[in-house]
Amino acid sequence: MSDDTLLSARDLSLSFGTLRALDGVDVDLWPGEVLAIVGESGSGKSTLLNVLAGRLTPDQGHVFYRDPDGHLADLHAMSAPALRALHRSDWGFVQQDARAALRMGVSAGGNVGERLMAKGARHYGEIRAEAARWLEMVEIDPGRIDDLPRIFSGGMLQRLQIAATLVTHPRLVFMDEPTGGLDVSVQARLLDLIRRLVGQLGLAVVLVTHDIAVARLLAQRIMVMQRGRVVEAGLTDQVLDDPAHPYTQLLVSSVLQA
């Protein structure tokens, strides 16, 4: 791995019983880069994401993360408090089901403010101002700051989750099917928003998706997975325009052309 990678994984393997969910996977991620992991259901992409985020421990292999001070840390050798601190501040996790990630009984402002308060913010006015600013960033009317997420639409919920994740200015965000389950027009708007924010904030993103179009729109680099192995990796345009592996060719050709 080179000196400036943000996240590096080497030779990751993980089996669930006889099922090899990950089989010798290498990943490198540089600051400010969006990396898409694509593949069909069961190909191991969500498992890979969870291993990279330290939520699952691999049977074999290591994940290294470079902290803001430039030190390289082995994720799975870190203490639980250190890993949680990382998740709370330097990292973010956007999952497909916003309802599971957000507190549905807590107002939008409280949801966005939670990470700030977890980091130690103790000034109500500042927390509220920051929450309002972030609602505006994700195109939610700041006037709805005291509304419960329960009455938000699916697209709004997902945008709220993104605001609640990005409010602490993480350097690395993991996204698991962020546009899954949304209708096409809402999806397009959300993708626009994510692309804008990623550019503005210089975020590094590991994006898991089964949707080739999402990967093409957001990611600079792409990894195609099949049965726990990376079958093809490279620049997104290159891989999608000129797929080399038969499985990638199948994936690309199976997308409906509008």
């Binding site: 408090p81 403010g113 939670e114 990470r115 308060m117 977890a118 130690g120 103790r122 927390i127 005291d146």
Partner: protein
């Protein structure tokens, strides 16, 4: 004193077990210590935790005071006081200054406690995070890592909705700048009395089987925001009986035509002031 019972009702092994838990609790201020709470001859919620702690620390030379909502003469207080008078034969009192052990439910006496006194709180729910985080395992992790942002989310919600923190009793506190603690359902008005109190404070939760403690002179801080500081609330009246403008007041209905008076909830404090006025 009744025959047939061990001193202070509990057997000696149980008292030892409780004392071990108390020592741990004092060593880690505000941290909940599990203990094997026994069945007591009164229902859960009536002070089984407090009674067990009192039984474990009571000695023959102690003088016991029991209060319920500040009053010495309510059913709960009278029953528990009589229970220990019968099973331990200890002296009892209603005067705060004369007591060496004070068992309380819902109040801290107005009279400042001294270093040679112990106050025992009856606790229904020892976990301050229980309404916010349903999993006890998750709560324990949050305590272990001192991750208390969630409690502030609750305070944030209150201010956003009501303009102020809408917790009037059992107002969460930080003990020794480390552990988040439920002070038992005392009014928020009493919270400042816990800070650097010279007396030892012990908390017993019988149903939940937890003991915790605040050693003397330990810092106890009520949670708040920099721009919404903690403000203890008190009814803006004077006591009808003794005229006190400093004590915590109960509102008492006097008839069914809207008549009401405010009186001190601490009956001993009120009576002492009335005696002074009469003299």
């Amino acid at each position: 004193m009744s025959e047939g019972y061990n001193f202070a009702y509990l057997d000696e092994q149980t008292k030892r077990m409780i004392r071990r838990a108390l020592l741990k609790a004092v060593a880690v201020p505000g941290h909940q210590i599990p203990f094997g709470a026994r069945e007591m001859p009164l229902p859960y919620g009536w002070g089984t935790g407090g009674i067990q702690v009192t039984a474990a620390i009571l000695g023959q030379s102690d003088t016991l005071k029991v209060i319920d909502q500040g009053a010495d003469d309510t059913t709960n207080a009278v029953s528990i006081r009589r229970f220990f008078a019968r099973t331990a034969g200890v002296a009892t009192t209603t005067e705060t200054a004369r007591a060496s052990v004070i068992q309380t439910r819902h109040r801290i006496p107005e009279t400042t406690l001294r270093a040679d006194q112990i106050i025992v709180y009856q606790v229904p729910q020892p976990e301050p995070l229980w309404r916010l985080e349903p999993s006890r395992a998750a709560c324990r992790t949050m305590h272990a890592l001192a991750e208390y942002g969630l409690m502030h989310v609750k305070l944030y919600e209150d201010i956003a909705r009501y303009g102020q923190v809408a917790i009037s009793y059992d107002y969460p506190v930080m003990v020794n700048d480390r552990h988040l603690m439920a002070p038992s359902p005392i009014p928020a008005f009493d919270n400042p009395k816990m800070d650097r109190m010279p007396a030892l404070q012990l908390f017993g939760a019988g149903r939940e089987k937890r003991i915790y403690a605040i050693p003397p002179y330990t810092s106890v801080r009520s949670l708040d925001f920099a721009d919404h500081p903690f403000r203890p609330h008190r009814a803006p009246h004077a006591c009808t009986l003794c005229g006190s403008r400093d004590s915590y007041l109960d509102e008492v209905l006097t008839d069914d035509r809207g008549g009401r008076i405010f009186v001190c909830s601490d009956t001993d404090y009120c009576a002492t002031r009335q005696r002074k006025d009469a003299a």
